[in-house]
Amino acid sequence: MRAAFAYLGRGSWLARRDPRSLLLAAFLFVIGAPQLRDARHLLVVAILALGYYALASIPWRTVRRQWAYLLVVITAVACINALITGGQSGGFSGTDTHVLFTIPPFGAEVTAEGLSLVITQVLRFVAIAAVGFPVAYAIAPGDFGPALHQLGLGNRLPVMVDLTVRFIPTLSEEFTETIDAQRVRGFDPLQRGGGPVARLKRLAPVFVPVTVGSLTGAEDTIDSMDLRGFGIGRRTWFRRLKMDGWSWVVVGAFVAFLVIATWLNLAGLTNHYLLPIFVPN
């Protein structure tokens, strides 16, 4: 088993854009989208976000598990939330909710307001995920450091992120080797049963060697960085990312989205919307 990043190569339209534009897009979007509360607004946004997602040409096969997971889990959470709150959070007042039916044991009420909130929440999450996937699938792992640097995050954090990316495949090989070595001694990685505490303790034969081994190996990495002059002072980056016209268009579009979402929010124009189809006649 070897951990590999989700990156798909430079084949897609988004993968050919400057990675900074994708990062900025996702960043602006997670600030903008939560400001929208009206399910109709979020429907439009989700459709646009899925259009953007399509530009990353991610094969369905590679993301279907994520999508399935997302829809199932987020919907479940939203539904439980709606039951707990009875649709009374998020700006709907509690005075005259439309109770559709109650679920027997505790008398939890399923309301039209609650269902509307479920739809709103799921739409927002679908939109955020759609803008998020391209960050994983269309940015080369090696471009993370340079992109963060060129976004103005200095030198040390980008180098640290680059180093993280660099370690992951190596550590995953060491992890596999450790599992093999312990299996020879009768360790069963798939063993079930026991409480959570017992299960955690059983993992020590894997966690300890991999963690401690990578920490002792770090001495060589530290030396190798110090010996090549890493540290304080001016630093240059050879890899230069370039914003092409389309990259600016991407950034511009997401800036515009943030501005509009903020305006709608501040002007009070995007409040939770009771979906008429849920309201009993």
């Binding site: 450790t178 009768g186 060697p209 030396d223 110090d226 050879f238």
Partner: protein, 549 residues
């Protein structure tokens, strides 16, 4: 004013150093000058201070390792004590022992440019250097790769390239050949020679002298216990060095034997003759095996006897490790079957198979996790629900069999605080705690010096109660002098299988498997007895000098 082409690059005077946690000094009164364009070979047994000397040359001592330092080190005219590591980075380039740990970027170009970037070199200049270094070191084919896909040899080349990007006047290499197959090693040594011819001074630490002769070092420095024992011409070194301490060409043994040096007590050929026609312990029958996306082993058929010593040799990535992992159930078979003691392994647990043949992984630290050596030893027996009443005896015998019982209170020590050599022994004791009759060792000699590697194998051979030993190695001489039978693996297929004499017959095949033709092998081929096993250098030299009389 210093003149970079004629003045010495390194001037060391009265250098002594004791690590903060060290009791004894690791370097004692070292005096040394190195000229531009010179390759200096530094050799000596494990722990003699080679790596410490390198740290003193590149400034890690005193800037990163604290301790007691006396004397002075000047590199390129700069006093290492008064200059920062950043200041020294443009003068000394270093490649440390472990190739994969020193790569810090995820792509090859980023790795190469890391140094100049840290020093704030301008974009255009870095680009020029990148082109020049890649061309000079033959790295162009690697420029599109990510660092995790590199083989050991390629990683080593990139590490050197990364050091060269800073245009150092001195390049220090700490055991660059460890884990490299001969083809990769030759390429690397040719590069070293060329750099020296262009004016760089090179310090090359290596105890396998025979292997580095290709770089034609001008001088050799031999150390013991932190002090210089020999510093002078390479020819003089080959004349006088002690072949039991460093790995020298066979000539050196012969010369010593002819000079009448008494053979040491440990003779290395206490071979017990193999019983033929025995039942096999492990038998592969038309086995294919591999990883999710690719088959590594193809149609493997072989039977290893219950009373044999078998060595498996082959290039990096040829499937040596996978071969034994398939037999112990760690890699599923995609075709064929493996029989252990005549019964199929299908449906048998990994650990249960390990009670028949113990498997020792290359890197012991990848499995040591327990708080004490005792707990570490008992992990396997506990998992197999062995009777706890026998545990005290089991711990004691396992430690005795690997010679760890001499260490005081060893049972209560945290395993990882043992020395590297002791950890290797502990790994064997861990395998022995399941009371197997056969031991499989993956690269037992990796990371050890010549003397400890040979001595280690001799100790393993003498472990009481073991019927057979199978091992994987890159060390040709170790394989030829230890095994009764050699299996050559190439591209996942068995390329040859027979006694050492049979297998080395076909020179083309030998070279095609990326194996070195060593002087010992040559001497055995010419003068050796057509027995099953090759003679060790000492025995063969003794025999030859005897015949001469």
């Amino acid at each position: 004013m210093t003149n970079p082409t004629t003045d010495p690059v390194v001037v060391v005077e009265g250098l002594s150093f004791r690590y903060r946690r060290g009791i004894e000094p690791a370097l004692r009164d070292i005096a040394l000058e190195i000229q531009p364009g010179e390759v200096l070979l530094v050799a000596g047994p494990s722990g003699c201070g080679k790596s410490t000397l390198i740290r003193a040359l590149n400034g890690l001592i005193p800037h990163s390792y604290s301790g007691e330092l006396t004397g002075s080190v000047r590199v390129g005219g700069l006093d290492t004590r008064a200059t920062t590591l950043k200041g020294l980075a443009t003068v000394v380039g270093t490649v440390i022992q472990e190739p994969t740990r020193q790569l810090v970027a995820s792509t090859v170009p980023a790795e190469l440019t890391f140094g100049p970037e840290n020093l704030g070199v301008e974009h255009e200049e870095i680009g020029r250097r990148l082109v020049a270094v890649a061309a000079a070191s033959g790295l162009e084919p690697l420029l599109g790769r990510t660092t995790d896909e590199l083989s050991g040899g390629e990683a080593q080349q990139i590490a050197i390239g990364g050091a060269l990007m800073l245009r150092p006047r001195l390049l220090v290499l700490d055991e660059p050949l460890a884990n490299l197959d001969p083809a990769s090693a030759s390429r690397l040594l040719a590069l070293v020679r060329r750099l020296a011819d262009e004016g760089t001074a090179v310090v090359l630490v290596e105890h396998r002298i025979e292997d580095v002769l290709e770089a034609r070092p001008e001088r050799a420095l031999y150390m013991e216990d932190g002090a210089i024992r020999y510093l002078g011409s390479m020819a003089g070194f080959l004349e006088t060095a002690d072949p039991t301490r460093v790995k020298l060409p066979f000539d050196a043994w012969l010369r010593r034997a002819r000079a009448g040096a008494a053979p040491s007590a440990s003779s290395d050929s206490d071979a017990d003759v193999v019983a033929n026609g025995q039942a096999p312990r492990i038998e592969w029958r038309g086995v294919d095996a591999g990883y999710d996306d690719r088959t590594v082993l193809h149609e493997i058929s072989a039977a290893l006897g219950a009373h044999e010593r078998v060595a498996v040799l082959g290039p990096n990535g040829s499937g040596k490790t996978t071969l034994f992992k398939s037999a112990i159930g760690l890699r599923p078979l995609t075709a064929g079957d493996v029989l252990v003691d005549g019964a199929t392994i299908a449906g048998r647990g990994v650990a249960e198979l390990a009670t028949t043949f113990g498997y020792v992984f290359q890197n012991p630290s990848q499995m040591l996790f327990a708080a004490t050596v005792r707990e570490e030893l008992l992990f396997g027996p506990r998992n197999l629900l062995r009777d706890p009443d026998g545990f005290d005896g089991l711990v004691a015998t396992s430690l005795t069999r690997v010679g760890l019982d001499e260490e005081p209170e060893v049972g209560e020590r945290p395993p990882r605080t043992l020395s590297h050599g002791q950890q290797k022994r502990l790994a064997i004791a861990v395998a022995l705690a399941l009371e197997p009759r056969t031991l499989v060792l993956d690269e037992p000699s990796a990371g050890q010096d010549y003397r400890s590697a040979t001595a280690f194998m001799r100790e393993v051979e003498r472990i009481a109660g073991l019927e057979s030993i199978y091992f994987v190695t890159h060390d040709v001489d170790l394989a030829l002098t230890t095994a009764d039978r050699i299996i050559l693996l190439k591209d996942g297929r068995i390329a040859a299988d027979g006694t050492p004499h049979e297998v080395v017959q076909d020179r083309d095949r030998w070279r095609a498997c990326n194996l070195r033709e060593t002087s010992l092998m040559e001497a055995n081929r010419q003068h050796g007895v057509r027995g099953s096993r090759f003679l060790g250098p000492e025995a063969l030299a003794a025999q030859l000098s005897h015949q001469a009389h």
